[in-house]
């Protein structure tokens, strides 16, 4: 079994109640694979109740990375969130945990 983390790494960043999750491919081949298969809908379904709003995907062919912008994903944002990780520092890991293939 491979997880997304086997193909990519990434970092999360907070802005208000929005978290962005970068997914940076480990190789050109991995980039083609995630670009073809890692849709916004798939990310939204995977993250479940962590993300209450929309997920929007952006592509960066120049650095072989995708960027997922997740709305209403930080329980109100760092200043009002009740989560222990109020900044969402760990959330990139939640996405990379996705089972890629069995």
């Amino acid at each position: 079994m491979r997880r997304l983390y086997d193909l990519a790494y990434g970092r999360s960043g907070d802005k208000g109640n929005i978290v962005n999750l970068s997914v940076i491919a480990r190789s050109p081949e991995a980039y083609q694979e995630i670009k073809a298969k890692l849709t916004a809908a798939r990310v939204k379904a995977h993250l479940g109740d962590l993300v209450k709003g929309d997920v929007v995907r952006y592509e960066m062919d120049n650095i072989e990375a995708l960027n997922f912008v997740c709305h209403a994903a930080l329980d109100g944002g760092a200043t009002r969130s009740l989560r222990i990780d109020s900044l969402g520092k760990s959330l990139a890991g939640a996405l990379l945990y996705m089972v890629w293939d069995e």
């Binding site: 790494y9 990434g10 970092r11 960043g13 907070d14 802005k15 208000g16 109640n17 929005i18 962005n20 970068s22 940076i24 995977h46 993250l47 479940g48 109740d49 962590l50 929007v56 952006y58 592509e59 960066m60 062919d61 120049n62 650095i63 990375a65 960027n67 912008v69 709305h71 209403a72 329980d75 109100g76 944002g77 760092a78 200043t79 009002r80 009740l82 989560r83 222990i84 990780d85 520092k89 760990s90 959330l91 990139a92 890991g93 939640a94 945990y97």
Partner: protein, 454 residues
């Protein structure tokens, strides 16, 4: 001639003394300090309410005491947005500190005009709806009008003006983070205000530098297998070597721990970014999708080909409002029948909260089980231990203190084996600040620059 920008602060509380090896080693032409987050201004407002001469970050004092004398001796300007809610008071403090150190002739500049809290009614009367950027709600329609901060993200122009006036240290309020770093490039190279590609390149310089350690190996998942963990405690902070055409080599203070690689640069490039083809700043809309990265030797990455488009007619305005207070308690529960005990404890706490109408939000999580990844985390059927974190909020602190007292009365009456972490019992309520990001017409904001001489 290459122009070199050092970055020695990425948040309030960062190690600003990382500027010293940059300056002493002759590695930089300017050093920038980025101190403000969305949360920081609300913290500073508490200081300012207690004392009208406060409201700036205390790091500015450290910069004035320890760094400014050495930078001034070498004619290396310092730029910081650590003035927070009171850049004038910070500048006055720096002037006094510099005078006490005999730094005669030193020029201190204060940049203000970002704080529009006192103008909110006037701005709305003039036709600014101040709609919430995420929800679209009009500000006047919001029930909670308890705003404590309202700061516009200013651009590079007032800093450029201060540098042209010969400022040795520029202290600003809310300036957009990357514009702190763009400003000295404009002042040095004389880039035009509609030279969008170069302005955008300067924004990328700033964006990569503004989080200090995060581009030199800190918080790097991509380089985790190559991280010198002991070195993390003494990372050398980043330096950009920028050419007149806007291309630059990102590196770090020589002979210090850390690493600058394609991985660390890519990670930081997308940090806190939404649409990478439209990174909106006060001075330019930068496009990150045209740039090229190239390894350029040990701990050096070349960045070239950044493009930009004309700036927007609006500026971002972020308001903070007091939404009450929160309190945290952590309970431990062990085997046997841990889940049954947890459910009994939650039912008991629920009954206590229910008889206190001031309690607003209540949130439970199980540390080590589901506190980070929520529904992604399968819960074990028969755990040896469960650590329950309870967060609850109220409009006022007294309600929270009263709730804690009532919860503590159940110490001998609760479910079997329940225990509470003593440090959390001794904790204090925390402020809950709600943010209201919005846009405001550019013409409504007039930055001011004051220069004083020691």
């Amino acid at each position: 001639m290459t122009y070199r920008i050092g970055s020695a602060q990425g948040f309030y509380g960062d190690d600003v003394l990382k500027a010293l090896p940059m300056i002493r080693g002759g590695h930089v032409d300017v050093v920038c300090f980025e101190a403000l987050s969305e949360l920081t201004l609300a913290i500073l407002q508490k200081d300012k309410l207690a004392n009208p001469k406060r409201g700036y970050t205390f790091d500015v004092k450290l910069i004035a005491q320890k760094i400014l004398p050495e930078a001034f001796a070498r004619k290396i300007p310092l730029i910081t947005n650590g003035g927070g809610l009171n850049p004038q008071a910070a500048a006055e403090m720096v002037r006094e500190t510099a005078a006490a150190q005999g730094l005669t002739g030193l020029k201190v500049a204060a940049v203000s005009g970002d704080d529009v809290l006192a103008r909110l009614s006037d701005l709305q009367a003039a036709g600014e709806a101040l709609r919430h950027l995420e929800t679209g709600e009009v500000l006047a329609d919001s029930a909670n009008q308890n705003f404590v901060t309202a700061n516009v993200y200013l651009g590079a122009a007032p800093i450029v003006e201060a540098l042209h006036a010969g400022a040795d240290i520029v202290i600003t309020g809310r300036v957009a983070d990357p514009c702190l770093y763009l400003a000295p490039l404009i002042a040095h190279y004389g880039w035009a205000w509609d030279d969008w590609d170069r302005l955008a390149a300067g924004i990328v310089v700033g964006h990569l530098l503004e989080c200090t350690g995060q581009v030199v190996g800190g918080n790097s998942l991509g380089m985790i297998a190559h991280t010198d963990a002991v070195g993390l405690a003494a990372l050398g902070y980043p330096i950009a070597h920028v050419e007149a055409d806007g291309s630059f080599i990102l590196s770090k203070t020589p002979d210090t721990p850390g690493q600058v690689t394609l991985e660390t640069v890519k990670e930081q490039l997308l940090y806190e970014v939404h649409d990478p083809s439209r990174y909106i700043t006060p001075d330019v809309v930068a496009d990150f999708t045209t740039l090229r990265l190239q390894a350029a030797g040990a701990d050096a990455v070349l960045v070239a080909g950044v493009t930009g488009r004309s700036r927007t007619d609006t500026l971002k305005l972020n308001l903070g409002r007091l939404e009450g207070f929160s309190r945290e308690l952590i309970f431990t529960i062990g085997w046997p029948e841990a889940w049954r005990k947890v459910e009994q404890m939650k039912a008991m706490l629920g009954a206590i909260f229910a008889r206190m109408p001031g309690i607003a939000r209540v949130d439970y999580s199980y540390l080590g089980m589901n506190s980070l990844y929520g529904s992604l985390s399968p819960l074990p059927p028969d755990p040896l231990e469960v650590i329950v974190r309870v967060m609850f909020t109220a409009d006022d602190q007294d309600t929270l203190k009263n709730a804690v007292r009532q919860i503590m009365t159940t110490g001998l009456s609760g479910p079997a084996g329940m225990s509470v972490s003593g440090t959390t019992v001794g904790g204090e309520p925390r402020y809950v600040i709600g943010l209201w990001p919005t846009l405001i017409g550019r013409e409504r904001v007039q930055p001011q620059v004051e220069v004083m001489t020691v």
